[in-house]
Subunit: 123 residues, 2 copies
Amino acid sequence: MEEKKKKAITCGQLIIHDDIIKKVEENMPKEDDLYDLAELFKVFGDSTRIKIIWALFESEMCVCDIAYLLNMTQSAISHQLRVLKAARLVRYRRSGKTVFYSLDDNHIKQIFEMGMEHIKERQ
Amino acid sequence: MEEKKKKAITCGQLIIHDDIIKKVEENMPKEDDLYDLAELFKVFGDSTRIKIIWALFESEMCVCDIAYLLNMTQSAISHQLRVLKAARLVRYRRSGKTVFYSLDDNHIKQIFEMGMEHIKERQ
DNA sequence: TTAACATATGAACAATTGTTCATATGTTAA
DNA sequence: TTAACATATGAACAATTGTTCATATGTTAA
C-alpha cells in the first residue's frame, strides 16, 4: 500500500474520507500475508482438491483410495496431493508401497463450512 | 460420487474400509455444491480481489477510491468488481456518476480471519 | 536380484485468468 | 444538446493451471 499516486487513475477526485483511508491502511494485512492468503484460497479453488480434502475429513487414505472414491486417475490425484502438500494442508506417511495422506490443519473444516453457508444462502 | 469403478485406476486393491467409503459418501456434499464452493474460493484466490474486499471491510467505496487505495487502474478494479458481483460478494449503488460498492456477505470476514490463522501458524 | 506394484513426476496440451488498451455507456452540469 | 467525467466492457496477450500420457522412483515379496 506504499507509493500511492504514482500510477494515474481515471478519477482525479477522491470521494473517500481521509480517516477511512487511514483505517484501511491500518487494518489491511501486509502485502506478503495478503499474497499468502490468496495462495491458500487458490488451493481451495479447485473442486478436485476440495473433494480430496472432504474425503480426508473422514480418515487418512492412500492415493489409490482417493482415486477410487473420486473416480479419477492416480496421476491426477497425485499431482493435486502435491499442491496440497506444498500448501501444508496435508501430511503423509509411507507404509510399504502405500502412502497414506491425512489432513494437517484445524481450520479447513471451519473455512469449508462457512463457505458452504455462503453457498446455501444464495440458492 | 456416482459411477465408481468405471475409470481404471492403477491400484486394484483398496486399503480403505467399507464403512469409511460409506461415511465419505454420506458426508461429501453434492457435486453442485462442491463446484460452487470451489468457485467461491477461486474468487478469494487472487490478491487484488482480497485487497478490494479488505478495503470494503472498512466502508463502502467508489471504484476510483479503490483504484487509488490499491494503486491500480480503474479498469483492472472494475473488471475484478465484476467478478465479485457475479459471486454476489458485493453490492453496489449508483450516486450520480459515481458507483459505490459494499460487501454483501457476513461470512467473508470470518473466512478471511480463519485463513489468516492458517497462514500465521506456518510462519 | 527381479518382478510387481504404489506413487511421483516431467512434458505436452487445452483451458482459464488477470491486466492493459481502447472505447462504449451512463450521468450531470452548463 | 454537449462536454466532462466515472464506470463498464470487449479484444488481445502473457501467464497460470489441471489433466493426460509415459515413465521414473521407491518398496516388497519371492
